[in-house]
């Protein structure tokens, strides 16, 4: 090391010159380490960041609980873990249609990322409730979302709503009455008076094709039901409960009546065949939930609901051989082979 050695201050480097260099070198090294650490941290930060989503589910009847289970199972398959990256807000079924609006408002006030809703009535209410917020909505168990005014078309729903519609299984379900008992001629069909959403159109069309006479009975209240079921329905070969939430709520009474009168009973919800009905043909709520979970996942990952075509659920035949035995019906083998679920 060489440095000027003189008593002349003007020509000597500033005091602490070498020390300044050393400090600068140390600062440089420290800065390099900090920069490297910052880059490393920046690269790995994104990986560790996990977002949690809140999904609300509004259901009408206890049947919908199977949908909930399906949704949860489907979301779990897609990597969602409740309490980890998913908060599932599913209050108990509202039970009555007129309680839907309040339940939806309450769920929306908890700021979900997505709202799931079951049934046509529930989805229409959800559409109204999210008209301004454009909160994404995924529906299940809707019969005809286009006719109900929920979506513009199945292929391109538009708006903030998409979902899984019920398969058009009503015609075939009626057809199974003939398969099970070819002699069937006259069928009792209870309906809700003035129900704009009833699915009777296709049923009547199929009945005409199959040579079945439909004995449609509007049932406004429990009293009307009791009146209908009290008397022996004359000339009736079977009972067919259409897709109608009100009528579905009366299923236990119809099951009892069918067994009492040894009549084949077709209900609209496959999951409730085990309660004593002879059979049902249609969607399975749990599977529909799973199907909807995939749409939920797409939307949570950024897809616009309006760009996701409405999907259609799959239909399955559920047979209750115990009920068949009760009413003295021998289920034909070819029908038995078509059943997905056979309850014995």
């Amino acid at each position: 090391m060489t440095s000027p050695a003189t008593n002349d201050n003007e020509d000597r480097p500033p005091a602490g010159h070498a020390a300044g260099w050393r400090m600068r070198g140390l600062a440089l090294a420290a800065g390099a380490l900090v920069a490297a650490a910052a880059i490393w941290w920046g690269l790995h930060r994104q990986e560790s960041e996990v977002r949690s989503y809140r999904v609300a589910l509004i259901t009408v009847t206890s049947v919908d609980s199977r949908v909930e289970a399906g949704i949860k199972a489907g979301l779990a398959d897609l990597g969602y873990r409740e309490g980890d990256n998913l908060v599932f807000d599913a209050p108990p079924p509202v039970g009555q249609i007129d309680r839907l609006d309040a339940a939806l408002a309450a769920a929306i006030s908890r700021h979900p990322d997505l709202l799931m809703v079951a049934t046509t009535a529930g989805t229409r209410a959800a559409k109204r409730a999210t008209a301004e917020s454009r909160l994404p909505v995924v529906f299940v168990e809707v019969n005809d979302p286009v006719a109900s005014g929920i979506v513009a078309s199945l292929k391109a729903p538009g708006g903030n709503i998409t979902g899984v519609r019920m398969p058009a299984s009503e015609k075939l379900r009626l057809g199974y009455l003939k398969e099970l008992r070819p002699a069937t001629r006259r069928v009792l069909v209870p309906t809700t008076p003035g129900d704009p959403m009833n699915s009777m159109g296709p049923v009547r069309e199929a009945a005409a094709r199959l040579g079945l006479a439909l004995d449609e009975h509007p049932i406004g209240d429990r009293k009307a039901l009791e009146g209908l079921l009290a008397e022996q329905p004359g000339g009736i070969d079977a009972i067919y409960l259409p897709r109608d939430t009100n009528i579905q709520l009366m299923a236990p009474q119809f099951i009892a009546a069918a067994n009492r009168h040894r009549l084949p009973l077709s209900i609209s919800i496959v999951d409730e065949v085990g309660d004593g009905a002879l059979y049902s043909y249609g969607f399975e709520a749990g599977e529909m939930g799973r199907q909807a979970a995939r749409l939920v996942d797409l939307i949570l990952r950024g897809a616009a609901p309006g760009d996701l075509p409405v999907e259609t659920g799959e239909s399955y035949l559920f047979l209750n051989l115990k009920a068949a035995a009760t009413i003295g019906l021998a289920v034909p083998p070819h029908v038995l082979k078509q059943a997905t679920v056979i309850l014995r």
Binding site: M1, E10, A32, A36, Q338
Partner: protein, 604 residues
């Protein structure tokens, strides 16, 4: 402009250390990219091949299931209701079909079941003119129709017609037409585990997506702008992707399976590797920079110290030294610098002593010159005073001699004989000459004392006047003046007139033997001084004696030939010298003489 040594050294360090590092890193990154790309394509080729095999076997299985209906239990021999029931079971079994219809050899529907609605006997019709009947009938092989989308569910459907052949090579006895739900192959695709960013899609001949792991893509009836090609392109969702395609057929219908790998995800491992390489390189670069910084500092700091010391020495601080530490080249430089500074200091000290001595000697010399000059001036003055007083004092006896000899001639002339008068006349002539001599000596001595008034003078005009005045005194002479234009002059008008009078008078005097005297006066302007001359065509002189011309009482010609005191040119020389000029003469015996003189010009 000076570029700092420190910056240049740092630049060299950068070039030598960082450049190879950067190039190496870049090369490594490029190689990693190529390897990753090869890996991506290999994976995609593998995926496409496996998926194609799976889809092939799926369709084969479907076809096989339909064909096996007849093989197992003579299906075609059953009654129509039994056939319908069998078809219903097949329809419900796996939900593979939307509709199944059995056509007899005439193309009539014998049995038909649908997943959409119940079919009554009355609904059965004929398909005799439809391709799905005619083709299998004609070729005895399965037929597949183009994809169509179901209006109710939006799902793609494909017509698959399988002929039932009588015996091994017999005629076609029936055709089973199935509306296959393509959806079933979505499940096949969904079951395959794919890496994030990997995707597969099946396109029909119109580039419509008929199968995808995301049903929404199919239900939307997505159609690609063109059939994808292998290489880097865009995935079904429009994001950049590496694509590998594989073709397969279901009966006649061609399909393309596209295995895509989103570029972002495919290259994600590279990003990691890049981050690691980048981080390592950054650290390496920073380390090299720090090392460079310290090394440069080790080299530059001592050099800067030497430089600073050199600057100080340049400003005169010769006592400046640099501290020598270590035993390297820079220490050697510092040692040499110190030795050099020491020697320089010693040399400068001795020089300073010498200068001081010379200064002292100069002072002594100047003092002595001043003393001598003063003494000289004093003696000059004394001499002039002496000359003056002698001349002045001589005048009185001279006047007495002249006056008394005049009286003698006037009053006693008649008493003297001719010889006496002649001698007395000689006395008077001698007295007169002596008077002239005394006047000239007085004039010469005045020259030194007379104050000069410098004014611009027209020498030409002055010369003409002087010539006219002098010519008037010799009316019998033929005198001719050739006066050329003269450069301007500045000087004392009285003294310069004296110069011209003396020179012209000399010219007239020394041309006396000539019939016609020609006197030329001319000059020329110079940068520092103007030169003038007066030339005559007189008797001239021997140049060997030119040095004596301007001395006092120096004469080159005897008085009997040319009268005069011999002081005229001495006066000229003195006047010209007082004006700061020079004077000299040129001549040749009998060939005339020229006297030159100079006066300071405007530049001097």
């Amino acid at each position: 402009m000076m570029t700092s040594l420190r910056i240049r050294l740092l630049a060299v360090f950068m070039a030598l250390a960082i450049l190879p590092l950067v190039v190496g890193g870049g090369l490594l990154a490029w190689l990693s990219y190529r390897l990753q790309l090869a890996e991506v394509y290999e994976r995609q080729h593998d995926l496409a091949a496996r998926m194609t095999v799976e889809l092939d076997s799926f369709f084969d299985g479907i076809e096989g299931r339909l064909a096996s209906l007849d093989l197992v239990r003579e299906f075609t021999a059953l009654d129509a209701e039994s056939q319908r029931r069998r078809l219903a079971v097949v329809l419900a079994e796996r939900h593979d079909f939307r509709e199944l219809a059995l056509l007899d050899e005439q193309g009539r529907e014998r049995a038909k079941v649908s997943a959409g609605e119940p079919i009554a006997a009355a609904d059965l019709g004929s398909r005799a003119d439809r391709e799905e009947f005619r083709w299998p009938m004609a070729h005895g092989r399965s037929y597949s129709g183009p994809i169509r989308f179901d209006r109710e569910t939006g799902e793609p459907l494909m017509t698959l017609a399988v002929p039932f052949i009588d015996g091994r090579d017999g005629p076609v006895k029936a055709v089973l037409v199935a509306e296959l739900r393509v959806r079933r192959i979505w499940n096949v695709m969904q079951e395959r585990h794919l890496a994030p960013g990997q995707e597969v899609a099946v396109l029909d001949a119109d580039a419509r997506v008929i199968a995808h792991r995301n049903p929404s893509v199919v239900l939307r009836e997505t159609r690609l702008p063109a059939m994808p090609k292998e290489g880097r392109g865009y995935g079904v969702d429009g994001t950049p992707a590496y694509l590998v395609t594989s073709s397969f057929k279901v009966a006649q219908q061609p399909f393309v399976l596209v295995a895509e790998y989103a570029v972002a995800q495919a290259m994600a491992p590279l990003q990691h590797a890049g981050a690691v390489i980048g981080g390592v390189m950054l650290l390496a670069i920073l380390t090299v920079l720090a090392l460079a910084w310290f090394s440069v500092r080790r080299i530059v700091l001592p050099i800067e110290a030497v430089s600073a010391a050199a600057m100080a020495v340049r400003r005169g601080k010769l006592e400046q030294r640099v501290e020598v530490v270590g035993n390297d080249e820079i220490a050697e430089l510092a040692r040499s610098f110190n030795a050099m500074t020491r020697e320089l200091q010693a040399a400068l000290d001795s020089q300073r002593h010498a200068v001081e001595e010379v200064g002292q000697l100069n002072q002594q010399l100047e003092r002595r010159v001043a003393e001598r000059t003063a003494a000289l001036e004093a003696s000059n003055k004394e001499l002039e005073a002496f000359a003056y007083s002698v001349s002045h004092d001589l005048r009185a006896p001279l006047r007495a001699i002249d006056g008394f000899s005049h009286i003698v001639l006037d009053e006693y002339g008649d008493r003297l004989d001719a010889e006496g008068r002649k001698l007395l006349a000689s006395v008077r002539s001698g007295a007169e000459r002596m008077g002239q001599l005394i006047d000239d000596i007085l004039a010469l001595s005045r020259m030194a004392r007379q104050e000069m008034a410098l004014v611009p003078i027209e020498l030409g005009t002055l010369a003409r006047q002087v010539f006219a005045e002098l010519a008037a005194t010799a009316p019998r002479r033929r005198l001719h003046l050739e006066l050329a234009p003269l450069p301007p002059a500045s000087g004392d008008p009285v003294l310069l007139r004296q110069v011209l009078e003396n020179l012209i008078a000399n010219a007239i005097k020394f041309t006396a033997p000539r019939d016609e005297a020609i006197i030329e006066i001319g000059g020329r302007a110079g940068a520092m001084e103007n030169e003038y001359f007066v030339r005559d065509n007189g008797v001239g002189f021997d140049m060997n004696y030119a040095g004596k011309l301007f001395g006092v009482f120096q004469r080159l010609h005897p008085v009997r030939d040319f009268e005069g005191t011999g002081i005229g040119l001495a006066i000229v020389k003195r006047i010209i010298a007082r004006h700061g000029g020079r004077v000299w003469a040129e001549g040749k015996v009998d060939a005339g003489a020229t006297v030159h003189f100079t006066l300071p010009g405007s530049g001097g």
